[in-house]
Symmetry: C2
Subunit: 288 residues, 2 copies
């Protein structure tokens, strides 16, 4: 297939490397000529341009821009692509994107390859980033959106095929279920973790704060890791998944209040039961 990539950052770069190795012809579009040159040099793409019109012969286009630019980009692509082309995206929220993008382009398929690494940019691109990781496809059904749209079945099959070529583990769900699930396992952890750092660093006693900074080790390291990451990413989650992140934060806050009450009341059997439950529940989410 002729596959277009709009946005040649980490995800676009990794898609290019794997799909090119899989035998497809890859056409990249970036905002800057320097990125196009980097992509060609790194063999991420066969051709690269700063012009969207360079994608006019593509069968499939992956929009790999920041979330805010996905729907506007689909609108622009609609001016240059042939009507049978499939457009998909890689955004980490779906509710605010899939319906709007499908109104711009009927053969749009919402997608979320759940892979990443701490480095950003095309220079961090590598083979097999998606291997063994989840790739969520979020088709619209008439019943799950206000505009009664339904994602094209043939278009879904094409994205499923490509996700299979990446050796990803495929999941299908509604955009709303996706956003609620990632609020729990991806967005809430960022807020919880950031709030831990913020609380500790605001210790007013200098001696205690400096001691805490010296003594912090693996427990603090792990719990604070995602909260100390890219602030733009955290902001984006809150902006584009606002309702779900608020829902999960409010529930989390209630549970913190309950925890404080148990400790205040010295209700140790209750606290012991809570901690035993969390130990038992964690393996339902992650292995180790």
């Amino acid at each position: 297939m002729k596959i277009g990539l709009v946005g040649l950052g980490l995800i676009g770069g990794c898609l290019g490397l794997d799909l090119r190795a899989s035998g497809h012809s890859i056409y990249g579009v970036a905002r800057r000529k320097e990125t196009c040159a980097q992509a060609l040099a790194a063999k991420v793409v066969d051709e690269a341009s700063i012009e969207l019109a360079s994608l006019q012969a593509c069968d499939v286009v992956f929009v790999c821009t920041p979330i805010a630019k996905i729907v506007p980009m689909v609108r622009q692509l609609a001016q240059v692509l042939p009507p049978e082309a499939v457009i998909t995206d890689v955004g980490s929220v779906k509710g605010s994107i899939v319906e709007a993008a499908t109104q711009e382009w009927s053969r749009f398929v919402g997608g979320h390859p759940m892979s990443g690494k701490s480095e950003a940019g095309i220079e961090a691109a590598e083979r097999h980033l998606f291997q063994g990781n989840s790739y969520v496809i979020t088709p619209l059904e008439e019943a799950n959106n206000a505009a009664r749209l339904k994602t094209d079945g043939g278009a879904i099959k094409i994205i499923e095929q490509l996700a299979g070529e990446l050796d990803s583990v495929l999941y299908h769900c509604s955009p709303a279920d996706h956003d609620r699930a990632v609020a729990w396992i991806s967005h809430l952890p960022v807020m919880v973790s950031a709030n831990l750092i913020r609380s500790a660093v605001n210790e007013p006693n200098d001696t205690v704060r400096q001691l805490a900074q010296h003594l912090a080790s693996s427990g603090f390291r792990d719990t604070s890791r995602v909260g100390g990451g890219n602030p733009e990413l955290g902001l984006m989650m809150a902006q584009y998944n606002r309702d779900e992140i608020l829902r999960s934060l409010r529930y989390y806050q209630q549970e913190i209040t309950a925890l404080i009450e148990h400790i205040e009341a010295e209700d140790w059997p209750r606290l012991a039961a809570t901690l035993a439950e969390t130990k038992k529940a964690r393996p339902q989410f992650v292995e180790n």
Copy 2:
């Protein structure tokens, strides 16, 4: 020196291995004969017994029991040790221990070697567990305790020497400062992390909860790790460092409320500033 170890679990076992290699004679006491046999077989100790009286010739005794048993054990040791012997402990809270233990034994020194691993018990003991890790000594000064006690300077020097032989990084602080600092970097993370698991697993929609369980990956794994650990340890923190854990949880709760308010108000500049601050603050605690 003749060094006694009361409690032959992970920490007692590791102390025995390193201090024995350092040339000391190690006398172990465990509750069960099987543990004594294991300790002898693993060369953790030179002699092992279920009788405290076996420690009567020791220069230094490390109390490596669970926190609740430290002060009662010091009281029992006071019946068998020579008056010049030094007693120290390895408990992870200090305020509730050091003053009471010093009233039982004037040459008591509070200590907290901040090392651990996920496995427990003497069979997990290994050399060099303490190497490069913090070892906090928490002497009493007349000004920092109600009973106007002062930890014996000669006793402190002996524990400093032994901590040095373990290649630990030494810190000195008051028991109160220790407990406040570890509340931030060790105890609060456990509660924050446990509460994340508890919140996510209580998602009432089965489809969403199962999807979250499938999609959880490194972010959730890291943020939930210490909350999914040994429930007895979490309970012990809350029981023995209750005031400080409540203080840190209440502050954390206020900050969660502020975070919710920023997101509700769509105050994105404020949220962006908060997340930028946490990114900047994290390296003051941990390197990566």
